[in-house]
Protein backbone atom coordinates (compact mmCIF):
# COMPACT_ATOMS: atom_id res chain seq x y z
CA UNK A 1 0.00 0.00 0.00
CA UNK A 2 1.12 3.54 -0.79
CA UNK A 3 1.38 5.55 2.43
CA UNK A 4 1.84 9.31 2.38
CA UNK A 5 2.91 10.86 5.64
CA UNK A 6 5.10 13.47 7.23
CA UNK A 7 7.86 12.13 9.45
CA UNK A 8 10.06 14.59 11.32
CA UNK A 9 8.97 17.48 9.05
CA UNK A 10 9.77 15.55 5.86
CA UNK A 11 7.19 14.25 3.36
CA UNK A 12 7.34 10.55 2.59
CA UNK A 13 5.66 8.39 -0.02
CA UNK A 14 6.18 4.87 1.22
CA UNK A 15 5.38 1.53 -0.39
CA UNK A 16 4.71 -0.69 2.63
CA UNK A 17 2.39 -3.44 3.82
CA UNK A 18 -0.55 -1.70 5.54
CA UNK A 19 -0.26 -4.26 8.34
CA UNK A 20 3.39 -3.44 9.08
CA UNK A 21 4.05 -1.94 12.46
CA UNK A 22 4.90 1.76 12.28
CA UNK A 23 7.89 0.96 14.53
CA UNK A 24 9.41 -1.17 11.74
CA UNK A 25 8.50 1.28 8.98
CA UNK A 26 10.25 4.13 10.79
CA UNK A 27 13.32 2.17 11.77
CA UNK A 28 13.77 0.90 8.23
CA UNK A 29 13.97 4.54 7.12
CA UNK A 30 17.04 4.82 9.35
CA UNK A 31 15.20 6.68 12.11
CA UNK A 32 16.28 4.54 15.04
CA UNK A 33 15.39 6.42 18.24
CA UNK A 34 12.19 4.35 18.64
CA UNK A 35 13.32 0.98 20.02
CA UNK A 36 11.56 -2.35 20.21
CA UNK A 37 11.51 -3.30 23.88
CA UNK A 38 8.59 -5.56 24.67
CA UNK A 39 6.75 -5.26 21.36
CA UNK A 40 3.47 -5.44 23.31
CA UNK A 41 2.73 -1.86 24.32
CA UNK A 42 4.06 -2.14 27.85
CA UNK A 43 7.53 -0.59 27.90
CA UNK A 44 7.16 2.63 25.89
CA UNK A 45 10.64 2.36 24.29
CA UNK A 46 9.00 2.70 20.86
CA UNK A 47 7.01 5.86 21.75
CA UNK A 48 6.42 8.37 18.94
CA UNK A 49 4.13 11.34 18.44
CA UNK A 50 1.26 10.46 16.09
CA UNK A 51 -0.66 13.62 15.13
CA UNK A 52 0.54 15.21 18.36
CA UNK A 53 -0.30 12.30 20.66
CA UNK A 54 2.34 10.04 22.17
CA UNK A 55 1.64 6.40 21.27
CA UNK A 56 3.41 3.05 21.13
CA UNK A 57 4.61 2.58 17.55
CA UNK A 58 4.68 -1.21 18.06
CA UNK A 59 0.86 -1.13 18.32
CA UNK A 60 0.33 1.26 15.42
CA UNK A 61 -0.20 -0.09 11.92
CA UNK A 62 1.14 1.52 8.76
CA UNK A 63 -2.40 1.93 7.40
CA UNK A 64 -3.21 4.18 10.36
CA UNK A 65 -0.54 6.77 9.50
CA UNK A 66 -1.92 7.60 6.05
CA UNK A 67 -1.66 11.43 5.85
CA UNK A 68 -0.46 11.61 9.45
CA UNK A 69 2.21 13.70 11.08
CA UNK A 70 4.84 11.67 12.94
CA UNK A 71 7.54 13.00 15.24
CA UNK A 72 10.33 10.99 16.84
CA UNK A 73 13.14 12.18 19.08
CA UNK A 74 15.18 13.00 15.96
CA UNK A 75 12.52 15.52 14.90
CA UNK A 76 12.30 17.05 18.37
CA UNK A 77 15.99 17.36 19.11
CA UNK A 78 15.98 21.09 19.91
CA UNK A 79 12.61 21.01 21.69
CA UNK A 80 13.76 18.26 24.06
CA UNK A 81 17.09 19.91 24.89
CA UNK A 82 16.22 20.82 28.49
CA UNK A 83 14.81 17.38 29.27
CA UNK A 84 17.78 15.61 27.66
CA UNK A 85 20.29 17.69 29.58
CA UNK A 86 18.48 17.01 32.84
CA UNK A 87 18.50 13.28 32.13
CA UNK A 88 22.29 13.53 31.70
CA UNK A 89 23.00 15.65 34.76
CA UNK A 90 20.77 13.70 37.15
CA UNK A 91 22.09 10.37 35.90
CA UNK A 92 18.69 9.26 34.66
CA UNK A 93 20.31 7.11 32.01
CA UNK A 94 22.31 3.91 32.05
CA UNK A 95 22.01 1.53 29.10
CA UNK A 96 19.95 4.10 27.22
CA UNK A 97 17.51 1.71 25.54
CA UNK A 98 14.44 3.22 27.21
CA UNK A 99 15.74 6.79 27.11
CA UNK A 100 14.27 8.09 23.85
CA UNK A 101 10.82 6.93 25.01
CA UNK A 102 11.27 8.47 28.44
CA UNK A 103 12.58 11.75 27.01
CA UNK A 104 9.59 12.04 24.67
CA UNK A 105 7.09 11.28 27.44
CA UNK A 106 8.84 13.70 29.82
CA UNK A 107 8.87 16.42 27.16
CA UNK A 108 5.17 15.68 26.48
CA UNK A 109 4.34 15.98 30.20
CA UNK A 110 6.39 19.14 30.78
CA UNK A 111 4.91 20.74 27.65
CA UNK A 112 1.35 19.95 28.78
CA UNK A 113 2.25 21.94 31.93
CA UNK A 114 2.24 18.86 34.09
CA UNK A 115 2.01 19.09 37.85
CA UNK A 116 5.38 19.19 39.55
CA UNK A 117 4.73 16.86 42.48
CA UNK A 118 6.45 13.50 42.50
CA UNK A 119 3.36 11.28 42.43
CA UNK A 120 1.94 13.09 39.40
CA UNK A 121 5.24 12.62 37.56
CA UNK A 122 5.27 8.92 38.44
CA UNK A 123 1.67 8.61 37.23
CA UNK A 124 2.61 10.37 34.01
CA UNK A 125 5.40 7.86 33.35
CA UNK A 126 3.03 4.87 33.60
CA UNK A 127 3.70 3.81 30.02
CA UNK A 128 7.49 3.67 30.21
CA UNK A 129 9.66 1.00 31.77
CA UNK A 130 13.34 1.27 32.74
CA UNK A 131 15.24 -1.78 33.96
CA UNK A 132 18.46 0.03 34.99
CA UNK A 133 18.01 3.25 36.92
CA UNK A 134 15.13 2.50 39.25
CA UNK A 135 13.05 5.55 38.23
CA UNK A 136 13.97 8.00 41.01
CA UNK A 137 16.58 9.79 38.91
CA UNK A 138 14.19 9.88 35.97
CA UNK A 139 11.50 11.45 38.15
CA UNK A 140 14.10 13.94 39.44
CA UNK A 141 15.07 14.83 35.86
CA UNK A 142 11.45 15.49 34.90
CA UNK A 143 10.85 17.68 37.96
CA UNK A 144 14.08 19.59 37.28
CA UNK A 145 12.86 20.23 33.72
CA UNK A 146 9.81 22.04 35.11
CA UNK A 147 11.86 24.53 37.15
Amino acid sequence: MQIRCNINHKEYNLEVEATSRVLDVIRELGITSPKEGCGEGECGACSIFFNGKLVNSCLLLAGQIQNAKILTLEGLYEETKIVRENFETTGAIQCGFCTSGFVLRSYDYVKESGVKDEQSVKDALDGNLCRCTGYQKIVDAVIKSMA
Binding site: R21, G39, G41, K53, N56, C58, Q64, N67, A124, G127
Partner: protein, 266 residues
Protein backbone atom coordinates in the same frame (compact mmCIF):
# COMPACT_ATOMS: atom_id res chain seq x y z
CA UNK B 1 -4.24 -10.34 4.61
CA UNK B 2 -6.53 -7.59 3.39
CA UNK B 3 -6.34 -4.13 4.97
CA UNK B 4 -9.11 -1.77 3.91
CA UNK B 5 -9.19 1.87 4.96
CA UNK B 6 -12.60 3.53 5.38
CA UNK B 7 -12.34 7.12 4.11
CA UNK B 8 -15.73 8.23 5.43
CA UNK B 9 -18.74 6.77 7.21
CA UNK B 10 -20.55 5.69 3.99
CA UNK B 11 -17.39 4.02 2.82
CA UNK B 12 -17.13 2.26 6.19
CA UNK B 13 -20.67 0.86 5.91
CA UNK B 14 -20.01 -0.46 2.41
CA UNK B 15 -16.73 -2.08 3.41
CA UNK B 16 -18.42 -3.56 6.48
CA UNK B 17 -21.20 -5.07 4.41
CA UNK B 18 -18.87 -6.43 1.75
CA UNK B 19 -16.54 -7.96 4.33
CA UNK B 20 -18.70 -9.11 7.25
CA UNK B 21 -15.96 -11.28 8.75
CA UNK B 22 -13.26 -8.65 8.84
CA UNK B 23 -12.14 -7.15 12.12
CA UNK B 24 -12.94 -3.47 12.61
CA UNK B 25 -10.07 -1.26 13.76
CA UNK B 26 -11.04 1.42 16.28
CA UNK B 27 -7.48 2.14 17.45
CA UNK B 28 -5.67 -1.17 17.00
CA UNK B 29 -3.93 -1.31 20.38
CA UNK B 30 -5.48 -4.76 20.95
CA UNK B 31 -5.74 -5.93 17.35
CA UNK B 32 -2.16 -5.06 16.37
CA UNK B 33 -0.94 -7.78 18.73
CA UNK B 34 -3.35 -10.35 17.31
CA UNK B 35 -2.19 -9.47 13.83
CA UNK B 36 1.37 -10.15 14.82
CA UNK B 37 0.24 -13.66 15.71
CA UNK B 38 -1.76 -14.04 12.47
CA UNK B 39 -5.10 -14.29 14.28
CA UNK B 40 -6.90 -11.83 11.99
CA UNK B 41 -7.99 -12.57 8.42
CA UNK B 42 -8.75 -9.02 7.32
CA UNK B 43 -9.42 -5.58 8.73
CA UNK B 44 -11.51 -2.52 7.99
CA UNK B 45 -9.60 0.45 9.42
CA UNK B 46 -12.06 2.98 10.90
CA UNK B 47 -9.40 5.06 12.63
CA UNK B 48 -9.48 7.79 9.96
CA UNK B 49 -13.14 8.67 10.66
CA UNK B 50 -12.54 11.86 12.66
CA UNK B 51 -16.31 12.48 12.75
CA UNK B 52 -16.61 9.58 15.24
CA UNK B 53 -14.34 11.27 17.77
CA UNK B 54 -16.27 13.67 20.00
CA UNK B 55 -17.78 14.20 23.43
CA UNK B 56 -20.99 16.23 23.38
CA UNK B 57 -23.02 17.31 26.38
CA UNK B 58 -26.70 17.75 25.66
CA UNK B 59 -29.35 18.87 28.12
CA UNK B 60 -29.93 15.45 29.69
CA UNK B 61 -27.13 13.28 28.41
CA UNK B 62 -23.55 13.02 27.24
CA UNK B 63 -22.80 11.48 23.87
CA UNK B 64 -19.42 9.94 23.21
CA UNK B 65 -18.31 9.10 19.66
CA UNK B 66 -17.07 5.57 19.01
CA UNK B 67 -13.50 6.60 18.24
CA UNK B 68 -13.10 8.86 21.28
CA UNK B 69 -9.89 7.86 23.01
CA UNK B 70 -9.68 6.92 26.67
CA UNK B 71 -7.45 9.96 27.30
CA UNK B 72 -10.02 12.24 25.68
CA UNK B 73 -12.58 10.85 28.14
CA UNK B 74 -10.15 11.25 31.05
CA UNK B 75 -9.45 14.88 30.15
CA UNK B 76 -13.07 15.90 29.54
CA UNK B 77 -14.53 18.15 32.26
CA UNK B 78 -18.18 17.29 31.57
CA UNK B 79 -17.38 13.63 32.12
CA UNK B 80 -15.46 14.38 35.33
CA UNK B 81 -18.42 16.39 36.57
CA UNK B 82 -21.41 14.35 35.40
CA UNK B 83 -20.12 10.77 34.95
CA UNK B 84 -17.12 10.57 37.31
CA UNK B 85 -17.11 6.76 37.35
CA UNK B 86 -16.05 6.85 33.69
CA UNK B 87 -13.15 9.19 34.52
CA UNK B 88 -12.03 6.89 37.31
CA UNK B 89 -12.09 3.83 35.06
CA UNK B 90 -10.22 5.75 32.35
CA UNK B 91 -7.55 6.80 34.81
CA UNK B 92 -6.72 3.19 35.58
CA UNK B 93 -6.84 2.09 31.94
CA UNK B 94 -3.51 0.75 30.58
CA UNK B 95 -0.90 3.52 30.15
CA UNK B 96 -0.76 7.06 28.83
CA UNK B 97 0.48 5.94 25.41
CA UNK B 98 -2.29 3.34 25.05
CA UNK B 99 -4.98 5.70 26.39
CA UNK B 100 -3.94 8.08 23.59
CA UNK B 101 -5.01 5.63 20.88
CA UNK B 102 -7.36 3.05 22.44
CA UNK B 103 -10.98 4.05 21.86
CA UNK B 104 -14.15 3.49 23.84
CA UNK B 105 -15.78 1.47 21.04
CA UNK B 106 -12.64 -0.61 20.60
CA UNK B 107 -12.61 -1.60 24.26
CA UNK B 108 -16.32 -2.45 24.14
CA UNK B 109 -16.29 -4.22 20.76
CA UNK B 110 -13.38 -6.43 21.70
CA UNK B 111 -15.81 -7.66 24.40
CA UNK B 112 -13.06 -9.11 26.53
CA UNK B 113 -14.11 -10.52 29.93
CA UNK B 114 -11.47 -8.23 31.43
CA UNK B 115 -12.35 -5.03 29.48
CA UNK B 116 -12.08 -1.97 31.74
CA UNK B 117 -14.78 0.27 30.27
CA UNK B 118 -17.71 -2.14 29.90
CA UNK B 119 -18.69 -2.53 33.59
CA UNK B 120 -18.86 1.25 34.24
CA UNK B 121 -20.90 1.74 31.05
CA UNK B 122 -23.29 -1.06 32.05
CA UNK B 123 -24.01 0.39 35.51
CA UNK B 124 -24.60 3.79 33.88
CA UNK B 125 -27.25 2.14 31.68
CA UNK B 126 -25.36 3.38 28.63
CA UNK B 127 -27.00 3.17 25.25
CA UNK B 128 -25.09 2.38 22.09
CA UNK B 129 -25.94 3.50 18.57
CA UNK B 130 -25.30 1.08 15.71
CA UNK B 131 -25.26 2.02 12.06
CA UNK B 132 -25.47 -0.05 8.89
CA UNK B 133 -26.44 0.68 5.30
CA UNK B 134 -29.99 -0.34 6.33
CA UNK B 135 -30.25 2.29 9.02
CA UNK B 136 -29.55 3.14 12.61
CA UNK B 137 -30.69 1.64 15.90
CA UNK B 138 -30.00 2.54 19.52
CA UNK B 139 -30.02 -0.18 22.16
CA UNK B 140 -28.81 -0.70 25.71
CA UNK B 141 -25.20 -1.80 25.84
CA UNK B 142 -26.34 -4.77 27.94
CA UNK B 143 -28.20 -6.04 24.86
CA UNK B 144 -25.14 -5.74 22.61
CA UNK B 145 -22.68 -7.98 24.46
CA UNK B 146 -24.04 -11.51 24.34
CA UNK B 147 -21.10 -13.77 25.06
CA UNK B 148 -17.35 -14.23 25.27
CA UNK B 149 -15.95 -11.72 22.75
CA UNK B 150 -19.33 -11.81 21.07
CA UNK B 151 -21.62 -8.95 20.01
CA UNK B 152 -25.14 -8.97 18.59
CA UNK B 153 -24.34 -7.06 15.41
CA UNK B 154 -25.77 -7.27 11.92
CA UNK B 155 -23.16 -5.75 9.58
CA UNK B 156 -23.28 -2.74 11.87
CA UNK B 157 -20.68 -0.33 13.19
CA UNK B 158 -20.77 1.20 16.65
CA UNK B 159 -21.01 4.97 16.12
CA UNK B 160 -21.65 6.38 19.60
CA UNK B 161 -22.52 5.85 23.24
CA UNK B 162 -25.02 7.89 25.22
CA UNK B 163 -25.22 8.24 28.98
CA UNK B 164 -27.98 10.06 30.81
CA UNK B 165 -26.99 12.78 33.24
CA UNK B 166 -28.41 11.67 36.58
CA UNK B 167 -27.72 12.19 40.22
CA UNK B 168 -25.75 9.10 41.17
CA UNK B 169 -23.43 7.79 43.82
CA UNK B 170 -20.76 5.46 42.50
CA UNK B 171 -18.04 3.02 43.48
CA UNK B 172 -15.29 1.77 41.20
CA UNK B 173 -12.33 -0.36 42.10
CA UNK B 174 -9.98 -2.38 39.96
CA UNK B 175 -7.75 -4.97 41.60
CA UNK B 176 -4.65 -6.32 39.93
CA UNK B 177 -1.05 -7.19 40.57
CA UNK B 178 0.41 -3.72 40.03
CA UNK B 179 -0.44 -0.04 40.22
CA UNK B 180 0.07 0.88 36.56
CA UNK B 181 -0.54 -0.87 33.24
CA UNK B 182 -2.71 -3.13 35.27
CA UNK B 183 -4.81 -5.92 33.85
CA UNK B 184 -7.61 -6.58 36.31
CA UNK B 185 -7.81 -9.71 38.41
CA UNK B 186 -11.30 -8.35 38.94
CA UNK B 187 -13.11 -5.05 39.20
CA UNK B 188 -16.36 -3.81 40.71
CA UNK B 189 -18.43 -0.97 39.29
CA UNK B 190 -21.48 0.09 41.26
CA UNK B 191 -23.96 2.94 40.96
CA UNK B 192 -26.75 3.97 43.33
CA UNK B 193 -29.43 6.01 41.64
CA UNK B 194 -32.92 6.79 43.00
CA UNK B 195 -32.28 4.30 45.85
CA UNK B 196 -31.57 1.52 43.33
CA UNK B 197 -28.29 -0.29 42.77
CA UNK B 198 -26.68 -1.09 39.43
CA UNK B 199 -23.77 -3.51 39.69
CA UNK B 200 -21.22 -5.05 37.34
CA UNK B 201 -17.58 -6.05 37.27
CA UNK B 202 -14.84 -7.36 35.01
CA UNK B 203 -13.04 -10.68 34.95
CA UNK B 204 -15.81 -12.47 36.82
CA UNK B 205 -17.69 -14.03 33.88
CA UNK B 206 -16.95 -15.06 30.28
CA UNK B 207 -18.23 -11.59 29.34
CA UNK B 208 -18.88 -8.47 31.38
CA UNK B 209 -22.54 -8.34 32.47
CA UNK B 210 -24.80 -6.86 35.12
CA UNK B 211 -25.10 -8.64 38.46
CA UNK B 212 -28.89 -8.80 38.52
CA UNK B 213 -29.25 -11.13 41.52
CA UNK B 214 -27.14 -8.83 43.68
CA UNK B 215 -29.03 -5.81 42.41
CA UNK B 216 -32.37 -7.36 43.33
CA UNK B 217 -31.14 -8.41 46.76
CA UNK B 218 -29.62 -5.04 47.64
CA UNK B 219 -32.65 -3.15 46.35
CA UNK B 220 -34.68 -5.00 48.96
CA UNK B 221 -34.47 -3.99 52.58
CA UNK B 222 -33.16 -6.96 54.52
CA UNK B 223 -30.19 -9.10 53.66
CA UNK B 224 -27.31 -10.83 55.42
CA UNK B 225 -23.75 -11.62 54.37
CA UNK B 226 -24.92 -15.13 53.54
CA UNK B 227 -27.58 -13.71 51.20
CA UNK B 228 -24.95 -11.54 49.51
CA UNK B 229 -22.67 -14.51 48.97
CA UNK B 230 -25.53 -16.57 47.53
CA UNK B 231 -26.59 -13.81 45.13
CA UNK B 232 -22.98 -13.23 44.18
CA UNK B 233 -22.50 -16.88 43.29
CA UNK B 234 -25.53 -16.71 40.99
CA UNK B 235 -24.10 -13.66 39.24
CA UNK B 236 -20.51 -14.69 38.72
CA UNK B 237 -18.71 -17.67 37.25
CA UNK B 238 -15.07 -16.69 37.60
CA UNK B 239 -12.50 -18.89 35.97
CA UNK B 240 -9.18 -19.67 37.50
CA UNK B 241 -6.62 -18.24 35.12
CA UNK B 242 -2.97 -17.27 35.17
CA UNK B 243 -4.08 -13.88 36.50
CA UNK B 244 -5.95 -15.11 39.53
CA UNK B 245 -7.87 -17.96 41.13
CA UNK B 246 -11.63 -18.45 41.45
CA UNK B 247 -11.42 -18.29 45.23
CA UNK B 248 -9.44 -15.04 45.27
CA UNK B 249 -11.92 -13.41 42.90
CA UNK B 250 -14.90 -14.50 45.04
CA UNK B 251 -13.35 -13.33 48.30
CA UNK B 252 -12.19 -9.98 46.99
CA UNK B 253 -15.51 -9.30 45.27
CA UNK B 254 -17.31 -9.95 48.55
CA UNK B 255 -14.95 -7.59 50.38
CA UNK B 256 -15.34 -4.88 47.74
CA UNK B 257 -19.14 -5.16 47.94
CA UNK B 258 -18.82 -4.50 51.67
CA UNK B 259 -16.57 -1.53 51.02
CA UNK B 260 -18.99 -0.15 48.42
CA UNK B 261 -22.06 -0.54 50.64
CA UNK B 262 -20.16 1.21 53.44
CA UNK B 263 -19.40 4.10 51.11
CA UNK B 264 -23.01 4.38 49.94
CA UNK B 265 -24.28 4.30 53.55
CA UNK B 266 -22.43 7.50 54.46
Amino acid sequence: MKYLIAKNLDDALTLREENPNFTLLFGASDIALKMKNNQVSGVVDLTHLDELSYIRKNENSIKIGALTTINAILQNRDITQFIPILSEASKEFASHQIRNIASLAGNVANASPVADMIAPLLVLNAKVTLLSSKGERTIFLSDLIIGFKSLDLNNEIITSFEIEIQKRQHYYRKVGPRAKLNIAKLSLAMVKQDERYFISGASLNPYVKRFTNLEELLNGKNYSDVDIKEAMDKDISPSGSFRSTKEYRRKVLFNMLGEALGKFAI
